[in-house]
Amino acid sequence: MNVKSWLLILALLLPSFAQAQGYAGLGGSAEGFDIPQPGYRFKFPQDHGPHPSFRIEWWYLTANLTGEDGRPYGIQWTLFRSALKPKETEGWQSPQLWMGHAAVTTPDHHYFAERLSRGGIGQAGVTAQPFEAWIDEWHMRGPDMGTLSLSANGGNFGYDLTLQAQGPLVFHGDQGYSVKSADGQASYYYSQPFFAVEGTLHLPDQDIAVTGQGWLDREWSSQPLAADQSGWDWFSLSFDDGNKLMAFRLRGDRSDFTAATLISADGETTALPDGSVTFSPLETSTVAGRTIPTRWRVTLPDRNLDVEVSALTPQAWMATRFEYWEGPVTISGSHSGRGYLEMTGY
């Protein structure tokens, strides 16, 4: 899924280092760290937990929600792990760093918060069984990956939600081995896109009961970006017919690299190779002083898919230590539906 995370992680403490090598250092080499290999056989529940020998990893949940007031909302809950060294140790000197991002997007506002911690002392981490991912009081936990409670708080917003998986895990690329560039950079990448979500959003002036659909991305790697790749556009789209599409474009100096996974309503996946999907910005907005495409045309000619993807709230900017755009979108055209869009490197 999101390449974005790559960036964030390494660059966690080092903006300038990030600028030196690709976005957030994600183009750096992987000395000492493990590298994803094709043909890897996932083991659960272990693989829901952290992989300290890989440089970066995340638990990334987004959800499109509808409030009791009938209005659309989006939430994000992300825990990033970034390793300075390929190991975990006890105490303050742990080389594992954790970063949490949480956001609520309403039709007219975008609220977000950020948390930082290190491993080794228990302030943040992930356990596979029972499952818990946490940083400070933020958490995503449950008896297993299928039944989760989710909570996060910022200065003026928060949410408490429950997630119930309605379908199987899906694996992107070659059975979870997701290639990210023509040079072969790759990550392990699987998702749970079938969460039914309900609970309460805490907004500054009121609490709102919401229901909707959630999508969890799990990804880890050590060097997901090629040196010339500067950012990406990532889409997770849920169509009203029950089908879903994960599609991303990595923008490179030489050429763009795209990949996509078509997910049927029962969880069957079809991996689509580089070049299958086209992405064209239709409209831009000025967000945080930058020009960001907030309406897109996405086509998958082989499948007769030709949709317009529009940001619910163009100002869904995450002004965190590493800034990016992340927010809910609505889909119209050959298919309709809802989804999430993430854009980095603008």
Binding site: L13, W92, L116, R118, I121
Partner: protein
């Protein structure tokens, strides 16, 4: 026309270059010393501010555990409840013999600390992997970084120019290793951004105490009195410098009277003249002021390292030893030069503007008119009186300085009358013609030398006063150290566990083990350090009490009462019989007050049992050990070996005292330096007065020479006269200086530091100062005397000739 007037006026300075130089030097000295002090103050304050900003000191509320360190578990409890707190582990440790504060912050959870942000955003940011994982990196100011790079066994050091001196900033993970405080947290900073809802801290970690940002130790506040002291000295130097300016300008005006009469006769209005002269003075002030600024800059640079050491030693205030040219004090210095010059010249200018067109009064008349009659001495008495009234009626530090200023200024104004009186007494009892002439001539010279002698009086009184204060303080402090540091050994264990092991091991072989346990409490009066004591003869016999009720130690040991230090007593006006509220739950009567010169903060002592009730679990790592003095060294070595303690963990009494005295001595280096400089300026004032008097000397000397005295003898008399005047001034300065010392000890010190010191007298110091004064007077008169010695007879003869 104005140009023509200016030309005429300026021609005076061309003919009197020495006078011009004297005037400029006077302005420069006054401005220089003042600016130096201001520069030092500005630099120190900037340092505090930088440190506070860099380390976010005093900006956020904090959580502390009165009983000792906070564990990581408790930190986690708060974090998992949502509280955004940042862990800090800090301790002052000795590295390579230097006392250094190590501050370990959680650089991951608190990246917003300015010092950390600064490093991240530098041109070559360190790799976070290096910063956060073993061995880690130490951040230090350039000076400390140089020092640390020569030490072995430390993590690599990175330079961070904005950090305070003698402070190592590092990640908490590195600090806990460096300080051997694994898993310990000194305090938690409550960060400004907190989530929407939070449980009460008391419900999570009831043992932690919240310390408001406003009640944390504020360096700037703490050191205010020190800076006020420095400013007072700067002002004194400034005043002494202005005496030179006043004298020189007055003489120049008197000498130009003829010229001014001529100009007025030619139709120049007095108003025009006054404006032109004001312009002239302003220009002179500007040039002298600029020179003074340069002087001040270098002087400050030379003095600052010592001031910095003082402030660190006395208050733990972070001040770097390097001075930067700040426009603020530079502009202020120029303004002072201008204002001072105009102030010092105002009198002369007013008299000039009232001069009748045809007045025949010359230089001699100007001199005698300056200090005749009763006006000046009466004014002097009045000023003294005002100082006393202000002190009595208002009180406080500023009033204390008003008293000092009134005393000094008043005495200075009385000086000419006093000198004249003394001389006439001598004159009356003198027989020989030459002696008679010398006295009468001295008296005739007095008006011209008065200002310089006033300057000398001020400098001497300041010297005696401050010297007496410092020496009294030193004597008291030494005695106090002897009382206070009675244990033969002082020991710091790694933790409570080791502390217990050590006490158990020691118990059978030493006379007594005195635990030193303390806790810092937030108190309305500022931080309050509460100590616990065990019942021991050591305290009963030696503890330096300055006020006590009945059965002091019995009551304290029974847990019924508390002892407080003098600072707290004076600040809160608490004396035996009053009650001290220690915290919400505990209020105890004060049984006694003890002197405490080690720190500016409040302290209280209760019995060990009480301490454990008030603040359960206070760490017990430090001990005083009473044993036979001969075996102390042996025992210290044995302790180090057996318990694997670092060298600094066991300190012998003598070393402890030496360290304390070293800090003490550093404290007054600047004071002494300013003292010597002030005396130097006064010496210079005498020299310039004698030089400006030079032209008036010939008519006095020539007739005597003609009557059969050699130039050599006359030169000797010149020296003698200067020395005699200085000697009389010095004798008058003695009581003034002692009065000043008393004021400093009994009023200023109490206000500034919170302690009152007994006054001791140091005649040997006075004798030394007296000789120094005579020497200064001799040196000042040497140049004129030399000139006289080498004067061609033709010069003297010219006096009698027609052309005069």
């Amino acid at each position: 026309m104005t140009v023509a007037i200016i030309q005429v006026l300026l021609s005076h300075w061309r003919r009197h270059r020495l006078q011009l130089a004297t005037l400029l030097i006077g302005i420069a000295l006054a401005t220089g010393l003042w600016s130096a002090v201001q520069a030092i103050n500005a630099e120190a304050r900037a340092s505090y501010q930088r440190a506070n900003e860099q380390l976010a000191l005093g900006q956020h509320d904090e959580l502390r555990n009165p009983a000792g360190p906070i564990t990581i578990d408790r930190y986690l409890s708060l974090r998992r409840a949502g509280w955004q707190v940042a862990a800090v582990l800090e301790e002052t440790t000795r590295i390579g013999g230097r006392s250094i504060r190590v501050m370990g912050v959680d650089m991951v959870a608190y990246p917003a600390l300015p010092a950390v942000t600064g490093i991240e955003q530098s041109a070559t940011p360190p790799d976070p992997a290096d910063m956060l994982t073993a061995p880690g990196r130490l951040l230090a100011s350039p000076d400390l970084a140089r020092f640390l790079s020569n030490q072995t066994g430390l993590p690599p050091v990175l330079t961070s120019p904005d950090l305070p001196p003698d402070l190592i900033l590092t990640d908490i993970g590195v600090a806990e290793v460096l300080l051997d405080r694994k898993g310990q947290i000194s305090r938690l900073i409550i960060l400004p951004d907190q989530p929407r809802t939070l449980p009460e801290i008391a419900a999570i970690t009831p043992e932690l105490e919240r310390v408001e940002a406003s009640s944390q130790l504020d360096t700037a506040q703490l050191t205010d009195s020190f800076h006020l002291n420095l400013s007072a000295f700067g002002l004194l130097s400034f005043a002494v410098g202005l005496f030179i300016v006043h004298g020189t300008v007055g003489l120049a005006f008197a000498q130009r009277r003829g010229m001014i009469r001529t100009l007025r006769a030619l139709g120049v209005s007095m108003r025009q003249l006054v404006w032109v002269i004001l312009l002239e003075l302003s220009l002179l002030a500007l040039f002298g002021g600029l020179a003074g600024l340069m002087l001040g800059y270098f002087l400050a640079g030379a003095l600052l390292p010592d001031v910095a050491a003082t402030l660190r030693g006395l208050y733990g205030a972070p001040v770097s030893g390097e001075i930067a040219l700040q426009p603020k004090w530079a502009v202020a210095g120029l303004a002072m030069a201008l204002g001072g010059t105009l102030l010092a010249s105002g009198h002369a200018l007013i008299r000039l503007s009232h001069m009748p067109l045809l007045s025949g009064a010359g230089v001699q008349a100007w001199r005698t008119a300056a200090f005749n009659g009763f006006t000046t001495p009466l004014l002097g008495l009045l000023i003294m009186l005002v100082g006393i009234i202000v002190q009595l009626s208002i009180g406080g530090l500023v009033a204390g300085f008003t008293l000092v200023a009134g005393m000094l200024l008043g005495a200075a104004m009385l000086l000419p009358s006093l000198l004249s009186l003394v001389i006439s007494i001598f004159q009356r009892f003198t027989k020989g013609p030459i002696a008679q002439w010398i006295w009468s001539d001295m008296r005739a010279q007095l008006p011209g030398l008065s200002l310089a002698l006033m300057a000398l009086l001020l400098a001497l009184a300041a010297n005696i006063g401050v010297g007496t204060m410092v020496s009294s303080f030193r004597l008291t402090f030494t005695g106090w150290l002897d009382q206070r540091l009675t244990s033969e050994l002082y020991l710091t264990a790694k933790d409570d566990q080791q502390g217990r092991e050590i006490s158990n091991w020691l118990a059978p072989q030493v006379d007594a083990i005195l635990p030193i346990r303390s806790v810092e409490l937030a108190h309305p009066s500022g931080p309050l350090f509460l100590y616990g004591v065990v019942d021991d003869q050591t305290y009963r016999q030696h503890w330096p009490l300055i006020a006590s009720g009945a059965d002091v130690w019995d009551r304290v040991n029974a847990g019924e009462a508390v002892l407080i230090n003098e600072q707290l007593a004076r600040r809160q006006d608490l004396w035996p019989g009053d009650d001290l509220m220690i915290n919400r739950e505990y209020t105890l009567p004060v049984a006694g007050v003890y002197s405490d010169y080690g720190n500016p903060t409040g302290q209280a002592i209760v019995s060990m049992t009480r301490l454990d009730q008030i603040a359960p679990g206070v760490e017990a790592r430090r001990f005083g050990i009473r044993t036979r003095a001969e075996s102390a060294t042996e025992l210290a070595d044995a302790l180090r070996d057996r318990f694997d303690l670092p060298g600094q963990a066991v300190i012998q009494q003598a070393a402890m005292k030496a360290q304390s005295m070293a800090v003490f001595e550093k404290t007054f280096v600047v004071t002494s330096a300013l003292n010597v400089l002030t005396l130097g300026v006064a010496g210079f004032a005498i020299l310039t007065s004698l030089l400006t008097l030079w032209t008036q000397r010939l008519p006095q000397i020539a007739p005597v020479w003609a009557l059969g005295l050699t130039r050599a003898r006359l030169a000797q008399f010149e020296l003698l006269r200067s020395v005699l005047l200085a000697a009389i001034t010095a004798i008058i300065a003695l009581p003034l200086g002692l009065a000043l010392a008393w004021t400093l000890l009994a009023i200023i010190n109490v206000e500034a530091f919170g302690w009152r010191l007994p006054m001791y007298l140091f005649p040997a110091d006075w004798a030394r100062l007296f000789l120094l004064t005579l020497l200064a007077a001799l040196v000042a008169a040497a140049l004129p005397a030399m000139r006289l010695l080498r004067l061609p007879p033709a010069e003297l003869l010219r006096v009698f000739a027609n052309e005069r």
